[in-house]
Each structure stands twice: as C-alpha cells, then as structure tokens.
C-alpha cells in the first residue's frame, strides 16, 4: 500500500518543474499510474522517460509498496 502523496513528491523532487499526478488504478493502493509532464523528457526516448520516473520511486517499488506502476510521461506542452 503506497502513500500517493509521497510518491508524487518523490517524482517531483527527482524531476524539478514536473507536473505529477499519481492515481490508484485499482483501489488496492499498490497498482498505480503516474502521469508526469516534465521538461527533462524533451528529446528523450520513451523508455528513458520511464526509467527516470521509475528511478525516482525505486525505493517504494523495492520495498513492495508499489506492485505495479504504469507511466504516462510526456514533455510539457
């Protein structure tokens, strides 16, 4: 069971200037979707953008609070 506000904060801290929204996809608290718009994504492949988001929340994936994380990662605008 993850703390959605904490996950959002972790992503926002790793990607300064990003707009971040984390939603609980199933109501179970561990299948999350992160919608992130970050200037750092400009010019990066999708897989790199996902790596950046996953890296930001790795601690919560490793400790099992997040079981599945789907990611929507676009540059702003």
């Amino acid at each position: 069971m993850a703390d959605l506000a904490e996950i959002e904060r972790m992503i926002a801290e790793a990607l300064p200037g990003a707009e971040v929204e984390v939603v609980d996809e199933t109501g179970g608290g561990d299948h999350l979707r992160a919608i992130v718009r970050a200037p750092q994504f400009e010019g990066r492949s999708r897989i790199d953008r996902h790596r950046m988001v996953r890296a930001a929340v790795r601690a919560r994936m490793d400790d099992g609070s997040i079981h599945a994380l789907s990611i929507s990662a676009e540059p702003p605008g």
Binding site: R46, I47, H50, R51, S70, I71, S72
Partner: protein, 131 residues
Amino acid sequence: MAANPELKEKVEELLRENEVLLFMKGTPQMPRCGFSMRVVGVLEQLGVDYGAVDVLPILDPLREVTGEISDWRTFPQLYVNGELVGGCDIVEEMLETGELSRLLEVEQPESAQPSQAQPADPQQSPPIQLG
C-alpha cells in the same frame, strides 16, 4: 546478484540475431500474462516477424540479465535492433502515435487499436527456448 554470464551471452546473441525480439510470459500462441498478450497483439497487428522468448522457466536469472543489459527487470520487454523499446505501456502508446510503425518500418494500420490483443496464429513466431 550478478547475472549468469552464460545466460547473458545467450541473450546478447539472440538480440543480435533477432531484429525484433520479445521477452514475454508464455508464448505468442499461449500468452500467460495479459500485458504480454497485448504486446503480441500489437506485433500481430503490424504484421512483423519477431522472435519470442518465454521468460517463465528462467524468470529470476533473466531479470538479472535484462537488468544489466538495459536496466529493466519486468516483462514483457520488446527489443528492436538490440535496443529496449519498452514494455506494454510504451508499446501501446507507440502503436497509437505511429512511432512503432516508423521504427519497424511497416505501414501504420488504419485502425491501430491496442486492445485487439489476441493470441497469435500458431504458424507464426515459433517460440525460442532459453535455459
């Protein structure tokens, strides 16, 4: 834990030999995971030839290998020209935007719909056994 060097070498060999290579749970004919099935559905829709590796018999050692090769430990994983493109999310997004068709140099289907996932036709894509 370090990856098994022999398995890593085999995987690198497969990546050189298969322009399009999918690591999946189950086989294209009998996917054992919804996400893997959706990626199969995308590839079938685009009509590309691809190699498919069933990760289930060697799941944990293979995670270590793909972790070292491409910093990615969850499956499915789609590789094109030896580079990790992504898992189910990314593959479906790239189908919708046409990026995947461009990458694979195929024509974009008129109604590119990710959710038309279906097990593959059994004649196509004989599964690759690893380990």
